[in-house]
Amino acid sequence: MSESTTKVGVYICQCGINIGAVVDCEAVKNHAATLPNVAVARQYQFMCSEPGQEMIKKDIREFGLNRVVVASCSPRMHEPTFQAVLKDAGINPYFFEMANIREHCSWVTRDHVEATEKAKRLVQGAVARVFWQEPLESREVPVTPSALVVGGGIAGIQAALNIADAGYHVYLVESDASIGGRMAQLDKTFPTLDCSACILTPKMVLVGRHPNITLLSYSEVIGVSGYVGNFKVKVKKKPRYVELGKCTGCDECTKVCPVEVPSEFDMGLKNRKAIYRPFAQAIPSAFVIDKKKSPCKITCPAHIHVQGYIALIAQGKINEALDLIREQIPLASVCGRVCTHPCEDECKRREVDEPIAIAALKRFAADNADPDRPIKMGALTKKQKVAVVGSGPAGLSCAYDLFRNGYRVTVYEAMPMAGGMLAVGIPEYRLPKGILNREIDAVKKLGVEIRLNTKIEDAGALLKEGYRAVFMAVGAHKGNGMEIPGKDLKGAYDAIDFLRETNLGRRVAIGKKVAVIGGGNSAIDAARVAVREGAESVQVFYRRQRQDMTAMTAEIEAAEAEGVNLNFLTTPARLLEKNRKVGGMECVRMELKELDASGRGTPYPVKDSEYITEIDTVIFAIGQTPDLSLITNVKGITTTRQGIVVVDPATLETGIAGIFAGGDMSWGGGTVIEAIAAGKRAAVSIDRFLQGIDLKEGREEDPLRARDIQVTIPAGTKEAPRPPMPELKVADRCSNYREIRLGFTREMAIAEAERCLSCAVCSECRQCEVACQPKCINHDMKEEILELDIGSILLATGHDFFHAPSLPQYNYGRFPNIIESMEFERLCSGSGPTGGKVTLANGKTPESVAIIHCVGSRDSHSNSYCSRLCCMHAMKQAHLVKERTGAQVYELYIDIRASGKGYEEFYEKVQREGVLFIRGRGAEVVGQGGQLVVKAEETGLGRPITLPVDMVILSTGMIARKNSAGVASIFHITRDQHGFFMEAHPKLKPFHTNTDGIFLAGTCQAPRDIPDTVAHASAAAAEVLSLLARGKVAIEPLTAQVNPERCSGCRVCIALCPYQAISLGGTENQKTVEVNEVLCKGCGVCVAACPAGAITTRHFTDRQILAQIEGVLAR
């Protein structure tokens, strides 16, 4: 475009008095006429009117104009109007520029001379700029013919029905288990006093049945990408654990569920069970299980359903408790006695008083259930045989799981009895052989073959004998011994050997003065056995300090009670001989220096600190290693320097396919429960191996740690002590092997189980499964992620209510009978906690009630805005109180807002019913002498008043939902200063957002009542339908362009783009970036950031902008 051919038309608008009264439009027009390239300049009262627009069209024809400048209001108002004019006249609409001489000039400048000068300059800038403008074409993209409605309250329901009835498909996503929202919780609605549920539920049923609506309940939107007409939405369907199609709503499950938590629907005034239906008319009408993560189950290495059996014990269902435990492990009695119970360390009850005695409860269930109860298992369906080497806890658990899964399992045990360390390590007084054998016998009775006295010399040979897989769990039965002079003298033993011999019933010759070296459980076991074997003095020598000992604290204390002496920071240097036996021990004192990998100080001998102790027996308990003879000839299985087998920690595979290993032989000494967990892990691996399934997939451990779980301690939880375990008196036990811990009684067990806080809510006790007739409960359901293609989105996510404790002067929660308005709705509801009777906390009927308006509204200390509907619902509640109780009702208000249809009439009706309206803000509510006293000012009388009443209802205002910040960011929309979603224009576009294709319905945008919500929702639905019906949408061409010759591929722009519209492209040799013009919104961040100046935005080129600046500044 050259200077000579550019013809600009300039139009100065007076906009009535808006511009005309401040700016001298005639002078501006005259000045404009003198500017370069201006062919015609005019001024007119209203350029946006038809005559105004016609004027422009006429001039285009007559003068051959090819550029137009209008100086008037903001382009946000009328840019589209004038662009349409150019289009109609056959000129590209982007040859148009607006100068804002109203919002930027006449409305903000007082001095008329200044304003006129400024207007002239703005016009100069526009004229200079328009010269450089280029013709641009909008592009059209198709619109996917489906809509997403987020939120199933009345707004979402209304909008979904409108869109679905028009013939388009709607996905309605609701995060609760049922649609209905807040309206389902209301009793009667103003002003008609319609029952809320009666007018809502027909619409809910329609939604549930509508062929065009896919209802995704108990689901949340977790990600949105794309652009108007072409959104990609990710929805997470939370596991309901109940199959929707099958549940008949019969309600048998709630009768047996042992866990109760406050009901959200009833505002905490009533409890519900862990399995529940939100309310009777719920859509979907199925039940749902509220199941969170329980700290005890996560911490248990075997992930036993701890909370489940505790809940069953609390109900007295001991048999069912044992069934639940035995679903996962065969050694309930054993674990109940010897487990180190890491679960108790994470039990959240310790935040109140002490953790639950989980292990003791497990023991109680195992000891007291019906001994002949059968163990559930499947049929021997699988043909493959599996060999397990070692019948300790790892081997037994693996065999147990595999066998119940249908495999044929043979367990090989080298010793004359089964049980591994359980039989030959742990002494009788901790774990009676009778108890152990009873549980092993139960496994044998199932059909698992255990071959005793059969040592496997070569694990590889097993594979050749027809076993398709082998699990090695031989434990670590070789004591490490100590390399000191004299170790081979008579009277020097290793603890592992010592314990094994005594456990097998064979006497070991020990003297009178016994020394045990070491600080672990084996050392303590050995010491206490030595006491029972008749030693006069037993001393433990440990090279570190008491707090560093790995033995269980309870065991250490028991040992000391039995007379065992503990010596710390000392270690033997050599054994002294006397008559060819151990006659004494030379020890050296130790000091601790730098911390080692276990977090304990490293011991170093103190120089010249040797001393002699007179002893005649030494038992070394300083570690154990496995006997690895069974793999010496198996090539491919690696071992560490410490002599343990290397395995993949997730799958327990060794280097040989089909051979797995776990337990002490793969980590050199751990606990019983860790061994059991290893056995179970191996069973899963072997099952997958034999089925040819990938061993690792889907087995990642949940990264959640118990200490990251936050638990709300229920209000009113009283401190209660943990019962001490009844024990044999010390005097009764040192000379025998009678079991020391006697176990809980039934009363103690049930009381202890009742202390459980039900952290996970659903305890997985599985009683609901038993009670469910249609068999629709599935506790293993997982969450599902859906990806949807959506054309337009409508947000109807609703609101929260202001919570009164933030205003301490109302003393909510400090005195009874001060309630919030939603709590009153539930009290009044026939389906609520009192069946519709308005009562005080003590059950009596109130004789006087005060309703305080504007709690959390119109208040600089909380929210400054008016919540719009509370006056009406407060008056409705006054009416209901009067109707149900005949009480004296006071309404304490600032102003009465009753502006809707029928609202003023309702106000008058309520006054006629005798409700007393007091104009004065309720200032304070206190309890005095068993009553509530409200202080307020009676502004009419001009003096303060005190009102003694029985009940106070606080009318709390609507606030934005707690999660609104997160939701806004998922949908890329903004929020206003109060947290509600931001509309595009408060007067003309209250249901649009600034993001194309996303609309708002209902209280998520601002407080409103039901009729306004329904209207707002249908309006937003109309916008959605407009998009979907058009089938295509124009995208503005104001997007970024890359000049590939300048682009160096530095990628700075990619990270900065807020719409992820830039990606790396180009060739192999020269990478350059590419802009997705449909995602690009033309914000210009990439243009500003590009160090090479390789990106420009159309219609905002440097040349255009600089011309505008020069134009404004020119003299």
Partner: protein, 288 residues
Amino acid sequence: MNYSYMPGCSLLSTAKGYDSSARAVVKALGSELVELEDWSCCGANAIESVSYLLSVSLPARNLALAEATGSDLVTSCSSCFLNLFKVNHRLKREPGLKTKLDEILGAAGLHYSGNIRVRHLLDVIANDIGIEAVAGRVEKKLTGLKVVPYYGCQTVRPYGEYDGPYLPTSMDRLIEAVGADVFPYLWKTRCCGGVLMTTETEIGVKLVSELLAAAQGADCIVTVCPMCQMNLDAYQGKISAKLGMKMNMPVLFLTQLLGLAFGLPSEVLLLDQNVVPMNPQLRQLQNA
């Protein structure tokens, strides 16, 4: 740590016990209240209705003097606290005020830049010195003594600088720190009537009798404002008549209570200067 300290006029006369016990308690805790030289009246309650500028300049004078010493200004009187604090608050929000204040103070050869903080003694003891330090200094635990924490209104309202405006807890924690029991009390910040006790005695008596009636069952009330202390302490005769019961509730300053627990001498605590005499428990604690 040393603080610049303005006792206020009441503490030189009717509330001498507050001043002397405050200085001694702070010293016993390892800090010192250094009296601001040439401090003057803060304006109390009445001035603002006479002249707004005077009501700002009077306290601002003290702030100018304190600023010159380089330290924040601490006061034990709640009225002084509020008046001084308001100067800073208003300077930030009223555009023309600084110019006027500069002129007025300038005429007296003073200048205030608005750079120091105003602290109430309760805030300094509870939050700067700290509860643990107070507990550590206790020599006789006031076990079994039931104490009402009465804050009055001016120290926590309207600005709520260092504690809640309706149910604050700083004094409660200090009472517990010296081993005593906090008597459950809803009227912690309810108005005592202020100057109305002298100008409209009937109103003052009505307000205070509610406060005292709710305190029945406690052994004493502690407060941190000389006006509150006077109103609760000096009119119990009239209040007894109004309530129809014999009222004998000792009203102490917080620092007198702390001093008792620290074992400070009675010449410093001046408990006998209070109108209602000490009851047997308090006397016993003093003599122990």
